[in-house]
């Protein structure tokens, strides 16, 4: 039974490896782009937005393909969705403390 299991995987593996190589290339190119963009002298807001945008793409590539998130089981999705939600609650912290600063002089 587990032989069949392993066998099923073996068929995928070559296909997977090809994808890994493509992701590798994409990551390298995106890294170069990130650095290049930094020399464009954009406004801070634009630079932050762009840097985070590219980083998010790269991060998603790693998560989806290297970490196989793209074909993961539902349970893992549930855990990660909850986590990401709380992660955004965490990022509320600076906003709240900004609301404090409105009154500070």
């Amino acid at each position: 039974m587990s032989d069949a299991h392993a066998h099923a995987h073996e068929i995928d593996v070559d296909h997977h490896v090809r994808i890994y190589m493509r992701v590798f290339a994409a990551l390298a190119v995106l890294t170069v782009i990130t650095v290049a963009v930094a020399y464009l002298h954009l406004t801070t807001a634009a630079a932050v937005a762009l840097a985070l945008f590219i980083a998010t793409i790269k991060g998603s590539l790693v998560a989806c393909y290297f970490m196989h998130l793209i074909s993961e089981k539902k349970l893992i999705y549930v855990v990660m969705v909850v986590t990401v939600l709380f992660f955004f609650f965490e990022l509320l912290i600076p906003t709240i403390s900004e609301s404090i600063n409105i009154h500070a002089r």
Binding site: M1, S2, F86, I93, I96, S97, S99
Partner: protein, 602 residues
């Protein structure tokens, strides 16, 4: 390939027959039951220690600046010269009481102890999913505890900035105590994270056949939600702890703004050791992002225990099992978005405060639902007033008072007056002391026969319960009155210096005598706990005639727990099923003539 698959079980079976050495059996054990017992006993000892710290403080509060009779000399001239407590020692005791009770007492007992011992049994598993991780978790806890304890002996004593360790105070107070506190906390956090991973995996993966999620006992659900809280709420404190540790040892300024002048010395900014530019508020956010979920960590296992015991002793199914489960999940979720209600008076803008007031009011609703369900479960029951049931019943109104007093605190308008007064102390002690502690006592009385195979004395149980109930209220109700009068917390002379507390200051003596009385009331428990270890093994597998799966195992359960792999055939609390001869129908008992449950549990 199939050879490999069988290798592991054979190996384990082999191990099972070997006599384990003393060290492997009691100290470096990977058996969830032994680890649970290690956690419980260590936790109880810390509870006792935390209580002792508090009894010392209670002398100073009742009789400020009078020498402590008999014991004063014990603490040395730099803590209690002439037996009179120095304020810095009072502050150390206060900070360590809070830290020890929360992180070294209740959580280890409720989660590490009960969770470890009961959860695998209740879901019909042979052990936790990761036994070695489990052992590591206990060891981290132990090291954290030792670090915390040893901090009393470092130069200038233990941490003295409250269990909340607010900077800048924490960072300008004596160096070693605070640094030890931080290092200890990092160990405790790591321990909790390992435990949380283990619990969640165990509950998801190791449920017995037929034990679907909606057949899980409430206690398992409570531990499940608790584990998620620990897993996702502790990391922010971990980050904050690292930041503060950097501030302590590397002179960074994460929490230190510019231009501080501490005791006449410029402490940050141009010309000082630190650059400044940090924010004290950041610590508070990261701390409370953990600490609010943490208070639900303190209560949820207790609620779970009470639910088990109420169902068992009313001899009927819990009323509103599903609402309880949904409320637990809602509590877990919402507890991540109420943290700033501890920070209403840090100058928060009105929009943010409106947001947090609203979430705080919303989060009280699931608690009301759970409590209502537990109370209404009594309706139609046939109540057996066993010792665990007494504690569980007392829990309900005590948690009621504690929870209700949370409401004025959750509304900013009343909180302006009540914040940082004894009202807050009264509020949360009602939930954690006659609330959680009672639930934990109930759990000990309830599962002691399972853990040891022996019964505890009912008489001693009564002698423990009734005075405890009286004294607990004698301690914590007057605090609410003091708080309403405006008396602040964390005062080393109990408010003697302030005009507005004069009218309620006499209550300190009532409280202190109740606290010492409470200590006496624990004697029957301690005696019962140890003496019952020598009583005959008469408990049998199922002394309470209960329905959940842990009662299918022998008492005490052997390594690997069950003689035959159990399965679940029905809901967890099938008591007094119409048409049955007995008044309980265990979850693990196959229905007559019925086939085994579906092979794939959903």
């Amino acid at each position: 390939m199939s050879e490999h698959d069988h290798a592991a079980p054979e190996h384990a079976a082999h191990e099972h027959h070997e006599e384990l050495s003393f060290w492997r059996k009691y100290v470096f054990s990977t058996d969830h039951k032994m680890i649970g017992i290690q956690y419980s006993v260590t936790g109880l000892l810390f509870l006792f220690f935390g209580f002792c710290l508090m009894m010392l403080m209670r002398w100073q509060l009742a009789y400020p600046n009078q020498p402590l009779p008999f014991l004063g000399w014990l603490f040395g001239e730099d803590r209690m010269p002439g037996g009179i407590m120095l304020p810095e020692f009072y502050n150390q005791l206060g900070a360590m009481h809070g830290t020890i009770m929360v992180f070294l007492g209740v959580v280890p007992l409720a989660v590490g102890g009960f969770g470890n011992f009961v959860v695998p049994l209740q879901i019909g598993a042979p052990d936790m999913a990761f036994p070695r991780l489990n052992m590591l978790s206990y060891q981290c806890y132990f090291v954290g505890g030792v670090v915390m304890l040893s901090s009393f002996f470092v130069p200038q004593g233990a941490a003295q900035s409250g269990w909340t360790s607010y900077p800048p105070l924490a960072e300008v107070n004596p160096f070693w105590g605070q640094t030890f506190w931080l290092v200890g906390m990092l160990f405790l956090i790591f321990s909790s994270l390992l435990g949380a991973v283990n619990f969640i995996t165990t509950i998801i993966q190791l449920r017995a056949e037929g034990l679907t999620f909606f057949r899980l006992p409430v206690f398992v659900w409570a531990q499940f939600v608790t584990a998620f809280l620990l897993l996702l709420a502790f990391p922010p404190l971990q980050a904050a702890g690292v930041f503060q540790l950097m501030d302590m040892v590397a002179d960074t300024s994460f929490f230190m703004p510019e231009g501080l002048v501490v005791s006449g010395q410029l402490a940050s900014g141009e010309g000082a050791a630190r650059a400044g530019g940090g924010s004290p508020i950041l610590w508070q956010h990261l701390f409370w992002f953990l600490a609010h979920p943490e208070v639900y960590v303190l209560i949820l296992p207790g609620l779970g225990i009470v639910a088990e015991i109420v169902a068992n002793n009313t001899r009927k199914p819990l009323w509103g099992y599903k609402p309880i489960v949904y409320s637990l999940l809602a509590l877990g979720f919402l507890s991540f978005i109420v943290w700033a209600h501890h920070m209403f008076l840090t100058g928060m803008g009105s929009t943010m405060s409106a947001f947090f007031q609203t979430t705080t009011m919303i989060i009280s609703i699931p608690s009301v639902v759970i409590l209502t369900a537990l109370i209404l479960s009594l309706w139609g029951g046939s109540i057996r007033f066993t010792v665990p049931m007494l504690f569980a019943l007392a829990f309900l109104p005590m948690f009621g008072i504690g929870g209700l007093t949370g409401l004025p605190l959750g509304l900013t308008a009343p909180d302006i007056h009540l914040h940082d007064t004894y009202y807050v102390i009264g509020h949360f002690h009602y939930v954690v002391a006659p609330g959680t502690l009672f639930a934990l006592f109930a759990g000990i009385y309830y599962w002691y026969p399972k853990a040891t195979g022996r019964r505890m004395s009912t008489l001693l149980g009564h002698l423990h319960f009734w005075p405890s109930l009286v004294f607990m209220n004698g301690i914590f109700f007057p605090m609410l009155i003091q708080g309403l009068a405006g008396m602040q917390r964390r005062l080393a002379d109990g408010g003697a210096s302030y005009g507005h507390s004069q009218e309620v200051i006499w209550l300190h003596q009532v409280i202190s005598f109740s606290a010492w009385g409470l200590a006496l009331a624990q004697l029957p428990f301690v005696v019962n706990f140890f003496a019952s270890l020598r009583s005959p093994k008469t408990a049998g597998e199922n002394p309470w005639h209960a329905t959940t799966i842990e009662w299918a195992a022998p008492s005490p359960p052997p390594h690997g727990n069950f003689a035959t792999v159990p399965a679940a055939y029905r809901d967890p609390y099938e008591y007094s099923v119409p048409g049955e001869a007995e008044d309980y129908l265990p979850q693990f008992r196959p229905a007559e003539g019925a086939a085994a449950p579906a092979a794939v549990p959903a």
